[in-house]
Symmetry: C2
Subunit: 239 residues, 2 copies
């Protein structure tokens, strides 16, 4: 149990809070007390407590002291990785089959599309994700050419646009919406399941500085794919 002292202090209190030894609302020792206890300077204590505060485990109030925070919503970390990477990680063979690649104007009257397009046009990129040659997901994607002009000429057809985008337009804002729906005949045929089969629908909209980048809808057969999210102390991705 060595390493930086501020990290040790942080880990100490994280453990005690997570274990319930320190309950929500409990008061932590003052920084002065912790200086004495650990035999270090105040900045060192403060660094440890700042990290805990940033992680939402404690509240620090001037004059009053430092308290174990009341857990609010259970926010969980949902990893929405690149499908290609995820499939390969499971040791399966990944392939992407492009189905449609068309540059077009946004549908008039479709607010989402016109907003995504901005001043320019849209490129529609539909395709099928295969794991070991079995259909895993249909993907319907729209990309704003105003935001990503490179995509028109880039992209050999068999790299999925999601992977390409991830490498070229990083650090965007995104909203993901997860729902369940019954497979339409068209989707059912592509996924090789019976029409009406329960499917997981992952819909993601992505922005960059308030400018729309892409809007994608992925549909998975319900029995073939689970999304997994985690919450916990070790899940410290914080990003």
């Amino acid at each position: 149990m060595s390493g930086p002292l501020h990290e040790r202090i942080r880990a100490d209190f994280e453990a005690r809070i997570l274990a319930g030894e320190l309950a929500p609302g409990d008061r932590l020792p003052t920084e002065q007390a912790l200086m004495a206890q650990y035999g270090c300077a105040r900045m060192t204590v403060s660094k440890a407590l700042s990290a805990l505060a940033a992680a939402g485990l404690i509240d620090r109030r001037k004059r009053a002291g430092t308290f174990v925070a009341r857990p609010r919503v259970h926010s969980m970390i949902l990893d929405v990785p690149d499908l290609a990477a995820q499939i390969r990680e499971r040791g399966q063979h990944y392939a992407y089959v492009p189905l449609e690649r068309r540059i077009r104007d946004p549908e008039t009257g479709n607010a989402a599309e016109t907003q995504l397009a901005g001043a320019g046009r849209l490129i529609q990129l539909d395709g099928l994700h295969l794991a070991d040659n079995i259909p895993l997901a249909v993907e319907y994607r729209l990309v704003s050419l105003a935001a990503v002009p490179d995509i028109a000429d880039a992209g050999s057809d068999d790299t999925p646009p999601g992977t390409w985008l991830l490498r070229h337009i990083p650090w965007t804002e995104a909203e993901t919406r997860i729902s369940a729906l019954a497979a339409s005949p068209a989707v059912a045929r592509l996924l090789q399941v019976a029409p009406g089969t329960a499917c997981l629908c992952v819909e993601r909209r992505t922005w960059r500085r308030a400018e729309g980048v892409t809007h994608v809808r992925q549909i998975f057969p319900g029995d073939a794919y689970d999304l997994v999210a985690r919450f916990g102390p070790s899940g410290g991705q914080e990003g």
Copy 2:
């Protein structure tokens, strides 16, 4: 644009990275340069950069310098709030109808149940969540009596066990699994939908210090509920 200087520095670079002005792999000025640029001490610069590093936006390497990180997985924050709170927030009337409340032993041969139970027994708590008297979700829950002995006598029947647990056993680790399934006849009857309807299934297992606490399965009609997750600069996870 005032406030603490370290926060201003942090926000400056966050904005430049998110805007793409600083691309992945680009090198940031050295701390020395930033000291000069902002006219402050090194600790102040360091605090700003540490926050960015904790958020995963930059990588700091000794001797080499500080670089914009390559985006890894797009981790998103999935808010899994209390159903009761969420429904009331939408201005609807919330109600919980208990269906089953039984103390029993774990099924022999069911590894998940025996592991959850630990040395003790289990309490099974099934119920129905209603929004404006319309069924929104069926809930099948198992709670370990070893981990939560209080639950046996606590809980007036019309407060959902999820809400009760959230208030009594905070700061747990959890894993959430999201999938789609077709409504079984029993589920369909409870949700008042046709059998086979596509439903969203949210399954959550919760631990506390490696001791199982609860295992819950919530099933929503596919067209009545969406899970939403967000990723973005302001989306800090402070609950």
